[in-house]
């Protein structure tokens, strides 16, 4: 909420990429990420609103700050498909979001995401919890998969369908051609695997 209010103030002040002149002893202001837009040209007020909406919609994992946000706009029906790639110095992984921009309402809607910008310690902890599950271990040993897993943040809207409306982590191992995939849905708060899944293509 504070972040949204702050962003709105910044927008109204017309200085979305600069630190505002505020008393730093009272409010700690985050430095905004560098924002790049390419593809279908979006300009003026429409662009500013879109930037603001994206900045409010993309929330990094605690401990991660986005340094740069790259938006690629492509035409999709009457609107725009926005691929938003957010990067951070803290993590090798990127957070990738896909939004649909409706020109009539000038609103963006989140359509998909793959979020891998996770601090290394959190990533290791999530893998460690997944590996501690007997079920996951059984699946791994049966498949003989022994590769680095992908760790992805799952947003509460999605998690609600599989466990509870909270941030979870998906730890996924796949063999070289993704013919065999093993995944664990991990709740970091309770340090447990809430669901395990295996499948083959």
């Amino acid at each position: 909420m504070l972040r949204a209010l702050l962003l709105l103030l910044l927008f109204l002040a017309g200085c979305t990429a600069q630190k505002p002149q505020v008393d730093s002893s009272q409010v700690e202001v985050e430095e905004l990420p560098k924002f790049y837009v390419q593809g279908v040209p979006v300009e003026g007020e429409k662009l500013e609103k879109m930037k603001l909406d994206i900045l409010q919609a993309v929330v990094p994992f605690p401990g991660v700050t986005y340094d740069a946000i790259n938006v690629t706009a492509t035409k999709l029906g009457s609107g725009l498909n926005l691929k938003v790639v957010a990067s951070s110095r803290v993590s090798e992984g990127l957070d990738v979001y896909r939004f649909y921009y409706d020109p009539a309402s000038r609103e963006i809607t989140l359509k998909g995401y793959v979020l891998e910008a996770i601090p290394p310690t959190t990533r290791s902890e999530a893998i460690s919890i997944a590996l501690g599950s007997e079920e996951v271990q059984r699946m791994l040993s049966e498949s003989a998969i022994a590769v680095e897993p992908a760790v992805r943040r799952i947003l509460p809207e999605t998690s609600a369908k599989y466990y509870a409306p909270k941030t979870l982590f998906s730890i996924t191992w796949s063999d070289f051609e993704r013919r065999m995939v093993i995944s664990a849905l991990v709740d970091l708060e309770s340090s447990r695997v809430v669901q395990a899944w295996s499948g083959s293509g």
């Binding site: 990738v96 896909r98 359509k111 998909g112 995401y113 793959v114 290394p120 310690t121 990533r123 290791s124 902890e125 893998i127 460690s128 919890i129 590996l131 501690g132 007997e134 271990q137 791994l140 040993s141 049966e142 003989a144 022994a146 590769v147 680095e148 897993p149 992805r152 799952i154 947003l155 999605t158 998690s159 369908k161 599989y162 979870l168 998906s170 996924t172 796949s174 070289f176 051609e177 993704r178 013919r179 065999m180 995939v181 995944s183 849905l185 309770s190 340090s191 447990r192 669901q195 899944w197 499948g199 083959s200 293509g201």
Partner: protein, 426 residues
């Protein structure tokens, strides 16, 4: 499947024939006055099915996961299917199998007894309280509602007929967090590589650690012609402190010295042997570090191909390509993975060396929408997102108006385990 069934049936048939044959033979022997040894059927353990009180227990299995000091309550409904009133006395009993018996004082059942009328249902509340000093592990027991037993051939103990199986997993959050359980890298034969595994101790006590190479318990060994080679113990040196102090991190350094003859894919495992109090010994899978190395051997000489250029050829073009899985582009521990490249040159029909730079380079990717073989929670949120699975690098070398005659093509690969090429003469 059908073949299996037929095989099984024929097996039974053969067994039946053998038994029949033995009976016939025994009778024949008996008729001849030779003593027949009477073989008694094994005694039936447990009561008969007809004498069992008919109850419906819901649920019949309950698994609870609790930390030491936690408690959980659940309800079980027992319906009387008999034509008479039945007295139910729930009791905690040991499982026929199982390492840890659930302690009796961890479980409270209320009411302690109940008389249930014909067709009626009784609800029991079962509370499981795990003491604060309980050890992590899997504790099992059954809660029986009657003393009825069922025949349990071929096992030598009775099976309780009206029972709920209760399984309690006592767990603790991991005290030890290991970073880099899976080390994957593309390396060169004859060189030495260093990898670092970080072990974080979040507990309040010092935790001993004794890494050992080659301990792969719990893992199925790969079988078949496409399996990686086993990393030799002599190639690997591990240096680590003997313990990890509370609330601190320790680093395990793994050095891999690859011999000149190493080639292809190798895999090996290191057991960190950390005495983590939050995990029972048989569940310390996260202490295994897998080393997966793709060893590239720099060839001593280039690949050579002789070919003919016809008279009045206008163009000679050679395309060299290498394809790799996207995952091969990344390595753990921050070692940069270089893109494959080639040095390409020719000897023309007059044995003159012709060195060329690529006239055209192409990068091609195989992209997957990820709609299959994905866990449901990822499939849903990543709908419409693309995943690069395979990357192909192509370079084309061209020579206009090549001289007619016998040419030689030379390709020296760099960081490429395999490649393809085409020679086109127009």
């Amino acid at each position: 499947m059908l073949r299996e069934v037929v095989r099984m049936r024929s097996g039974y048939f053969m067994a039946a024939l053998m038994v029949l044959g033995m009976v016939v033979a025994a009778n024949a022997l008996s008729a001849e006055g030779i003593a027949v040894i009477e073989v008694k059927a094994p005694a039936q353990v447990g009561g008969s099915v007809d004498s069992v009180t008919k109850l419906v227990i819901n649920p019949m299995y309950k698994n609870i996961q609790l930390k030491p000091g936690e408690e959980e309550e659940f309800r079980v409904k027992v319906k009387n299917r008999e034509d008479r009133a039945v007295e139910l006395v729930p009791k905690l009993q040991a499982m026929p199998f199982g390492e840890y018996m659930l302690e009796e004082d961890w479980v409270t059942i209320s009411p302690t007894k109940a008389v249930v009328q014909k067709g009626e249902e009784q609800e029991f509340t079962i509370k499981v309280s795990v003491p604060g000093d309980a050890e992590v592990g899997s504790y099992n027991a059954q809660i029986t509602f009657t003393n009825d037993t069922m025949p349990s051939m071929p096992y030598p103990y009775p099976r309780m007929a009206n029972a709920l199986t209760l399984s309690v997993n006592v767990w603790k959050p991991p005290t030890v967090i290991v970073s880099n359980n899976f080390i994957h890298d593309r390396v060169e034969a004859g060189k030495t590589y260093e990898y670092v595994v970080t072990v974080e101790n979040r507990g309040n006590t010092t935790i001993p650690m004794k890494p050992k190479f080659g301990d792969d318990r719990g893992y199925r060994r790969c079988a078949g012609m496409y399996c990686p080679g086993e990393l030799e113990e002599d190639w690997v040196t591990i240096s680590a402190p003997e313990s990890v102090k509370p609330n601190s991190r320790a680093t395990v350094k793994i050095s891999v010295k690859l011999p000149e003859y190493a080639k292809g894919q190798y895999e090996g495992r290191i057991n960190l042997n950390i005495d983590d109090p939050s995990r029972p010994e048989w569940r310390r899978y996260d202490q295994m570090v897998t080393l997966s190395l793709q060893v590239w051997q720099k060839p001593s000489s280039p690949y050579e191909k002789e070919f003919t250029v016809k008279e009045e050829a206008k163009m000679l073009s050679v395309e060299v390509s290498v394809s790799e899985f996207a995952y091969q582009k990344y390595s753990t521990c921050g070692n940069p993975v270089e893109e494959p490249s080639f040095k390409v040159w020719f000897l023309d029909s007059e044995s003159q060396e012709v060195e060329l730079k690529p006239a055209k380079t192409v990068i091609a990717e195989a992209v997957n929408l990820g709609s299959w073989a994905q866990p449901p929670w990822e499939a849903e949120c990543s709908a419409g997102m693309y995943t690069v699975e395979r990357i192909t690098y192509k370079s084309t070398y061209t020579i206009e108006n090549p001289k007619a005659g016998t040419w030689h093509l030379y390709i020296m690969p760099e960081k490429a385990q395999k490649f393809e090429y085409t020679i086109e003469v127009e």
